[in-house]
């Protein structure tokens, strides 16, 4: 078993952190730079930041925030939002991001071009999915599509991406519990690392996911709006016999 990866998932809007439920009703949750510094000192394994302002291609990527954070932290940092071409991607890397995330603009052609510039290990392909009561579908451009989630994921596995990020839209921010069964199905399809996000209710819920073979998770509400901190979560996991990296 390899070392488990705990990633902090952060959303920003107008240079402030925000957190919502099921991709809606975002409320202010602090300053992005000082929050990243705090996670860095608690030994987070990675930070993943999505800029909602540039998410729908309304603005160019927020290079300034990438630079500010990477001047103060030496934690692996991924950024998503508004990356439309290989130039945008390269600029994110130059400002200090280790990886970039592509969701709305994800296509084989675009990813191929970006990979020629920054290498595929630094590209995260992301898919948001929701459950309609019968089946799992893709959620894209703020819309519930009828595209089958597993078919879509199978398809993007052929793209030049280094890893995959899955977010469960209807669980995101709810703390109603992680979807283990479907995550296992996704995992069986993929030959690249996968980051899962959405719905983790408590520390035992995280343990359950890891026991079922999940290796990397992104958490938001669980640390933003509760007494948990990264060190505590990792200590708990270590006590349960999992391999985590504790900051010593």
């Amino acid at each position: 078993m390899s070392c488990l990866r705990i990633i902090s998932s952060l959303l920003i809007r107008d240079n402030r952190l925000v957190k919502g439920k099921k991709f809606k009703n975002h409320i202010d949750s602090g300053d992005p730079v000082t929050t990243c510094v705090a996670y860095d000192s608690q030994g987070i394994d990675e930070i993943l930041m999505i800029d909602l302002d540039s998410y729908n291609n309304l603005k160019e990527p927020n290079y300034e925030i990438i630079e500010k954070i990477n001047k103060r932290c030496n934690t692996p940092f991924s950024f998503g939002g508004g990356i439309k071409n290989e130039k945008d991607a390269l600029q994110c890397i130059k400002k200090g991001a280790d990886k970039i995330l592509i969701n709305t603009n994800l296509s084989k052609q675009l990813v191929g071009k970006i990979s020629n510039e920054i290498g595929r290990a630094s590209i995260i392909g992301a898919a948001d999915i929701y459950y309609d009561g019968k089946k799992y579908n893709l959620f894209k451009n703020n819309t519930k599509t009828n595209i089958d989630a597993l078919e879509y994921i199978k398809n993007i596995m052929d793209y030049e991406i280094g890893e995959l990020k899955i977010t469960y839209v209807d669980r995101e921010g709810t703390r109603e519990g992680f979807d283990i069964e479907f995550s296992k199905k996704i995992q069986d399809l993929c030959n690249k690392p996968i980051i899962f996000e959405g719905g983790f209710s408590d520390l035992d819920d995280i343990c359950k996911a890891f026991k079922n073979g999940i290796n990397s998770i992104a958490i938001g509400s669980l640390v933003t709006f509760s007494d948990n901190n990264i060190f505590m979560i990792k200590q708990y996991l270590e006590n349960k016999g999992f391999e985590v990296r504790l900051r010593k």
Binding site: C3, N116, A121
Partner: protein
Amino acid sequence: MTLFSNDVAAIDSCKEIKSKDTIILPGVGNAYSVSKFLEKNGYFDEIKEFENKNKKIIGICLGMQMLFKDLNEGGNSKGFGFFSSEVLEISKISKLKTNIGWRKIKSIDKNFLENENYYYFCHSYYVNINDEDYSFLKCVTEENPRIPAIIQKNNIFGLQFHPEKSQKKGIMLIKKFLEF
């Protein structure tokens, strides 16, 4: 990262290399594009000359892989050739096509590092160490497949992981190599 900002500067031209004591070849990139860029802009000769003077070179991630002879990402391309091993796709030795995350590394060469620590890896190609290079291999990842993590020959250091993104332990390691 500001820790070394007074002493460290990014360069824009290969002509600046001569005046430096140490050069760091950072990671993140596509091997083919980087190799072509460095070749076109005269870096190959400058860096080889730098090495001839026994000045210090530290290669990180793709920067480490550039120290080798043959690279394969994005098509065949050449590295500086300080080591002779080939750089291959990680899927040749691993179920997953990318190695991402914190991995514990251990010394092969006893006492090269006093402690085993976790460092951050993010790569889809690895160095397939050959017999000729084996004596320069200092550290590998603890878990299987054992990925070459640190290689060193005289004043040339190669690190497959990212010490600059490996929090406190990573910074300590950069300092160690700068003072080596």
